[in-house]
């Protein structure tokens, strides 16, 4: 307000310019051209006072018109009207403005508009049409009161009854009458736009595209434009329409809503909701919901209330009291607590909360004679922890899975089958979990139950085959595979799985120097092999097996395969992986095959080699040190700069998975030369350079990584930004580059004598394990990687309490041994507290295969 007053004062107190008229005229024109209308008005007014030259008069008129349009755009219609009136008062030399007339009509100053209309003979034809269309639109609303003031032969007057009849017929839904009326409106009628709009509206809702085309022919300056715009709003897709409906109001939106089929009740509620804004506060929304709970339904309102309440639970339970709503039932409390636990993302808390809810549901189910849905609720609650945390994933995640939570989730999921035994997915999940942990007996137990329920299910059959392969029961696996292929003859996955199993077994026989048994296995594998990849694997394995009985023949066979593979990097990797799996030294085999001096890998060779490496990793393969030393030099020499960006990104990911840091660094550096500063390659370059972390927070490379983070964020590459952020956090630690609160100087009071855990220098660490868990505690203390690994293993096997207990025992033992200066906890082996028993040594034929795919 203060600003407005100041500006107005400045305007009224404008001092007359001291410039000469000529100079002032130049300045006035410049102001006009630059849309500085207020200044232009002042300058031209001063000039007109000096001399009423026609060009200065016109300049002033243009300046008024410009300012009027500017004010209209701001919604200041009254102020705009003053500008137009000032312009009209300049005299008859200034042409009539159609905008002025339209505004006068809208303001109800019909007399003045008609007076101006009488002077409109020199108006441009398009302006005349605009004006006549606007008067025609107004004539429909005012009827004879307006039309009788027009000459008797004026088309607006003559055709008004027909246009009015057409509108009446449309509103009444009388399409026959509407068509009849429309046929009487001539092509050049001032009501032509109305006729087009009514035709388009008739096409709704069945032919929206045609309706849109018809409406598109009507100009936005037509007198009927508001009706056209309402029709266009009604044509918007449902998703966009609601956004507009919440933003706009007035007759246009009301009419569009009506066309869409909105009832008056719905439109009234929309008006109420519009005042809340697009994202109302939860308490405001709750109030509205409770006000309308009669329409919304009590049960629905209650359900949604819980959803609005849970982000603020338990602090804002008073909202319910304020609304006069009933208090939360025990079930509702447990449910909200579960949702809240999921937000915190603490796996133990999640498991505990859902377990409590499941108990409550079981209690309710017993009380009310449980129906199928009640039982399903219990089962789903019991499965939720695993669903959210993926803790029973087939591949154990050592970074994340505290063993006590895993056991709790496992127990819950197993129990869930008692409540909902028809969920095939849960059986398969449990089987995969047990297989991943080597618990074949448990896997078989669940599999037996699943096979009984779904004897011909493909998923169950395939799992049966995999479990059989796990146990080395290849005959059984083959029988199941034949059954699968009877049902699904083109199931290549089954064939590949069997080939891989036989190959793995053959490799094991070769390792044990049983070439005869290996040959038998390879023969069995060949029976199933169909794909090019499987046949190639078999050929290599056969060649390697032959080496033990006839070295020359074996080398000749392998040489032929090397020729087929192009004698490049791809061949080197294929041979190195295969040699390693059967106990040959990869580098020696490469030398014997004269692959050591192979040509430098070009783009095609690199891509083929990376593809082979990726397949090997996808099947759970791990690169051994021997393979790494054999393939590192030829891979590092490759022409990485020839790869496209997408290929080199993918290559870096594969090399990360393979742990080939040196090659990954080379690839990332080559990429950075082409795509300077690209965040994803900065990330790969850093990780490859510091595979064990960079412990200097002021390291130059770490700074470069931070720039890459900024750039990734700037580019909107959230995924890379998150990865870089995680990497920086791991290297800099949770307290940034400042001093760690754990490095604070000791208190200046004398330490009390140490006795028991309370005085242990490890106390902060142990307390932190209790408070936030082992993982977070190790992060906070920046625990070395090897120590983390051991502690994690202990926690997985015996729980986090065992870690705390172990440190206590160690500390007390060291205390009894002597002073503790410079004490540093070292990773001991776990105490013998009944840890995981070692798997029983099985007979040869029952041993699990050592590797599924050596390629």
């Amino acid at each position: 307000m203060a600003k407005k007053q100041k500006r107005r004062a400045a305007s009224t107190n404008r001092k007359p310019s001291q410039l000469s008229p000529e100079a002032l005229a130049v300045q006035a024109r410049q102001n006009l051209d630059a849309n500085r209308f207020r200044d232009a008005i002042a300058d031209f007014k001063q000039l007109v006072k000096v001399e009423s030259r026609p060009e200065w008069q016109q300049g002033l008129a243009d300046a008024y018109a410009g300012r009027a349009r500017e004010l209209t755009a701001k919604g200041m219609h009254k102020e705009a009207m003053v500008m137009w009136d000032n312009r009209a008062a300049l005299g008859t030399e200034v042409s009539v403005s159609v905008d002025h007339m339209l505004m006068m009509m809208r303001a109800g100053r019909l007399e003045s508009a008609l007076e101006q209309l009488a002077r409109s003979s020199d108006m441009a034809p398009e302006d005349q049409n605009r004006l006549r269309s606007a008067i025609a639109a107004l004539a429909l609303t005012q009827g004879a009161a307006l039309t009788e003031r027009l000459p008797a032969d004026d088309p607006i007057r003559r055709q008004a009854p027909t246009a009015s009849a057409a509108l009446d017929a449309y509103c009444a839904g009388d399409d026959a009458a509407l068509r009849a009326a429309l046929s009487e409106i001539p092509f050049r009628s001032p009501y032509r736009d109305l006729a087009q709009i009514l035709k388009a509206l008739q096409l709704l809702p069945s032919s929206p595209i045609e309706a849109e085309k018809t409406l598109g022919r009507i100009g936005s300056d037509s007198g009927f434009a508001p009706l056209k715009q309402a029709a266009e709003l009604a044509l918007l897709p449902e998703s966009t329409f609601l956004e507009q409906a919440l933003r706009l109001s007035g007759s246009r939106m009301r009419l569009a809503c009506t066309l869409k089929g909105w009832s008056d009740e719905r439109i009234a509620l929309l008006d109420e909701l519009r005042h809340l804004g697009p994202h109302p506060k939860p308490d405001t929304l709750l109030s509205v919901m409770y006000k309308h709970r009669g329409q919304l339904g009590e049960a629905w309102t209650r359900q949604k209330t819980l959803r609005l309440l849970f982000p603020h639970y338990p602090t804002r339970l008073d909202w319910l009291k304020t609304l006069g709503a009933p208090r939360l039932t025990p079930f509702e409390r447990w449910l909200i607590a579960c949702w809240a636990a999921e937000e915190i993302e603490n796996s133990w808390h999640i498991a505990d909360s859902w377990s409590d809810l499941a108990d409550e549901l079981k209690h309710l189910a017993k009380k009310q004679a449980a129906g199928p849905v009640d039982k399903l609720r219990v089962a789903l609650a019991l499965r939720r922890t695993d669903q959210v945390t993926d803790i029973l994933s087939a591949e154990p995640d050592a970074e994340r899975a505290p063993s006590d939570v895993e056991q709790m989730a496992l127990k819950q999921v197993e129990e869930s089958l008692d409540w909902d035994p028809e969920d095939r997915r849960t059986y398969l999940r449990l089987i995969a979990f047990y297989r991943g942990r080597g618990r074949t007996k448990d896997a078989r137990r669940i599999l037996a139950a699943a096979s009984e329920r779904w004897p011909d299910d493909m998923g169950v059959l395939q799992t049966s085959m995999e479990v059989a392969i796990d146990s080395g029961a290849f005959k059984k696996a083959s029988t199941i595979a034949r059954r699968i292929l009877e049902i699904d003859p083109i199931n290549s996955g089954v064939r590949d799985a069997l080939v891989n199993a036989h190959l793995a077994h053959a490799s094991k026989q070769m390792l044990q120097r049983r070439s005869d048994l290996a040959t038998k296995e390879l023969g069995a594998a060949r029976e199933w092999a169909r794909s090019e990849h499987a046949l190639e694997q078999l050929d290599i394995a056969c060649g390697l097996n032959r080496l033990s009985t006839d070295a020359d023949a074996g080398m000749a066979e392998l040489g032929q395969i090397v020729e087929r593979l192009g004698k490049g990097l791809d061949a080197q990797i294929a041979m190195a992986l295969a040699a390693d799996s059967v106990g040959h030294v990869p580098s020696s085999l490469l030398k014997a095959l004269k692959l050591k001096s192979a040509r430098v890998a070009d783009k095609a060779d690199l891509l083929a080699a990376l593809g082979r490496l990726r397949r090997f990793l996808d099947r759970g393969g791990k690169i051994s040190k021997r393979v790494e030393s054999a393939i590192n030099p030829p891979m590092a020499k490759g022409h990485w700069a020839q790869l496209e960006r997408q290929d080199i990104e993918s290559a870096c990911e594969t090399l990360r998975r393979a742990g080939l840091h040196q090659v990954r660094s080379k690839a990332a550096r080559a990429a950075l030369k082409r795509w300077r500063g690209a965040p994803i390659f900065e990330l790969h370059a850093f990780e490859a350079k510091y595979p064990n972390g960079c412990h200097d927070p002021f390291n130059k490379d770490l700074m470069t990584l931070e720039w890459a983070l900024d750039r990734a964020r700037g580019d909107g590459d959230t995924r890379t930004a998150l990865r870089i952020q995680g990497l920086i956090d791991r290297n800099v630690g949770p307290f940034g580059r400042g001093p760690s609160p754990f490095d604070l100087p000791p208190f200046d009071f004398d330490p009390e004598p140490m006795s028991g855990r309370g005085e242990s220098p490890l106390e902060p660490f142990l307390e932190m394990i209790e408070d936030v868990g082992l993982e977070a505690a190790m992060d906070a203390f920046q625990m070395p990687k090897n120590l983390r690994k051991d502690l994690r293993k202990l926690a997985q096997e015996q729980g986090e309490d065992a870690v705390i207990e172990l440190f206590d025992i160690m500390f007390n033992e060291m205390l009894s041994a002597g002073p503790l200066d410079g004490f540093l906890p070292l990773p001991p082996s776990p105490p013998p507290k009944g840890g995981k028993p070692k798997p029983r040594k099985k007979p040869d034929d029952e041993d699990p295969p050592i590797q599924t795919d050596p390629f």
Partner: protein
């Protein structure tokens, strides 16, 4: 996230057949070329409610707060398109906003 029952226009005790019928009818009325956002929302809604297990899971695990559109659809669902009263058209042409 929109309430899937309201998007598909089905009651909360709808069975598998009713859910599927509502979904097919909704995507027929709103193919992806007409309104891709709504089509995707319908698809998501169907996946959330397809089976009895999905519906119970939705009841227990879905925590999304209601949207304004949910309130509108629940209190006064959209009906058949209708013609406006002449007075409303006149108000619009007069500029009564």
């Amino acid at each position: 996230m929109r309430d899937p029952y309201l998007l598909l226009g089905i009651p909360e005790d709808a069975d598998d057949l009713a859910v599927e019928a509502a979904y097919l009818s909704a995507i027929k009325a709103c193919p992806p070329e007409r309104d891709a956002v709504r089509f995707q929302a319908l698809r998501t809604a169907y996946e959330q409610l397809r089976t009895n297990r999905d519906r119970v899971a939705h009841e227990l695990f879905q925590t999304a707060p209601p949207e304004l559109a949910d309130l509108l659809d629940r209190a006064a669902p959209v009906g058949e398109p209708r013609r406006p009263a002449r007075a409303l058209v006149e108000a619009l042409l007069r500029g009564d906003d």
